[in-house]
Symmetry: C2
Subunit: 183 residues, 2 copies
Amino acid sequence: MDAALPKRQRIKQQNRQFILDGARKVFAEQGYGAATVRDIIRATPLAAGTFYNYFTSKEDVREALNAEMADALRPRLAEGRAEAATAEEFLSAFFSSVFALKAETGTGLEAVDLRAGFEDLRADLENAAQRGVFPPLDAGALAAALLAAADEMARRLARDGGDAAEATAAATLLFLRGVQPPL
Amino acid sequence: MDAALPKRQRIKQQNRQFILDGARKVFAEQGYGAATVRDIIRATPLAAGTFYNYFTSKEDVREALNAEMADALRPRLAEGRAEAATAEEFLSAFFSSVFALKAETGTGLEAVDLRAGFEDLRADLENAAQRGVFPPLDAGALAAALLAAADEMARRLARDGGDAAEATAAATLLFLRGVQPPL
DNA sequence: AGCTAAAGTTGACCATCCGTCATGGAACTG
DNA sequence: CAGTTCCATGACGGATGGTCAACTTTAGCT
């Protein structure tokens, strides 16, 4: 025995992780839709009933998996925003990290649900506004618009192929100056 | 017999509609996730096997239902854009119709998938750009960003409550001038 | 009309899935 | 070490998904 924790809790953590790992693999191999709770259980040394001691459904696992991933990715996603001295820097950092992140995650979970980063972005926006980087604005609405737009643009980028740097520049300009012609 | 169509085809259309109608009701009552193919069949005078002559899965029905709805809504969604004389008018018309539409559809299908209107918007944007309403731009990327942002902002609007007119003005301004302070 | 081939519907069927629960054994308590 | 709590196990009842042989109806032809 080499654990600092009581055995009960250690096993509990381990089992939970068994399920999450199994689910990650199953989702990656078959896709979320085709996967079944039984498949997840089979990818695990556990019995059927045990699964339901930890999660209530496939969707439940999905959420936990997404939260786990979002947690791991959060710092990377927020990279460069806190230090941004201008609105342009801020936006550029934002789009750039979203595009980079979406491009690589072929994890099977059809990608991270960016909305997990909503609060972070909102907070960073408010913070930046207070530093005078942005004019005062509705940080919630802007964060929502930015995330949704970035997500969809990233999807297009991944599908049609295209240069991430170029897309970052275009997206930054769009949100910086709107659809007006560049002066 | 009073049909202009051969009986075979008439029944085929009818059965297809039986399924779509049943599915719409079932989705509205139980939600898409909880609904089962069997539930749909039960909401229909048809037998189990027949279902699979028309659709291959619940998801397949969902798509058909969504397409049906998108078709019906398309004209309303595009309202006012073709006549817009300025970028501001165009954007305002766009956001206004999206917000109005999303606010009312409590159809059960958790709302229309706006991406169905993507091509329309893209075409309208290119058209407007050629009329000089917009500067030349990547209509595809802009359409994607606009739709995604509008969709998410509409969701927030519905959730938190809020004035649609106000939101329309804010969204229009955001995409018209970007995050710069209003002059 | 009468008859045949094609088209399409039916509902029972099998494999599988879901979620539960009584049983049993391992870990904590004192 | 005995008592208690906690939890994993795996079989079970009920339901689902998708298939398919048998049957019914329509379209086409003579």
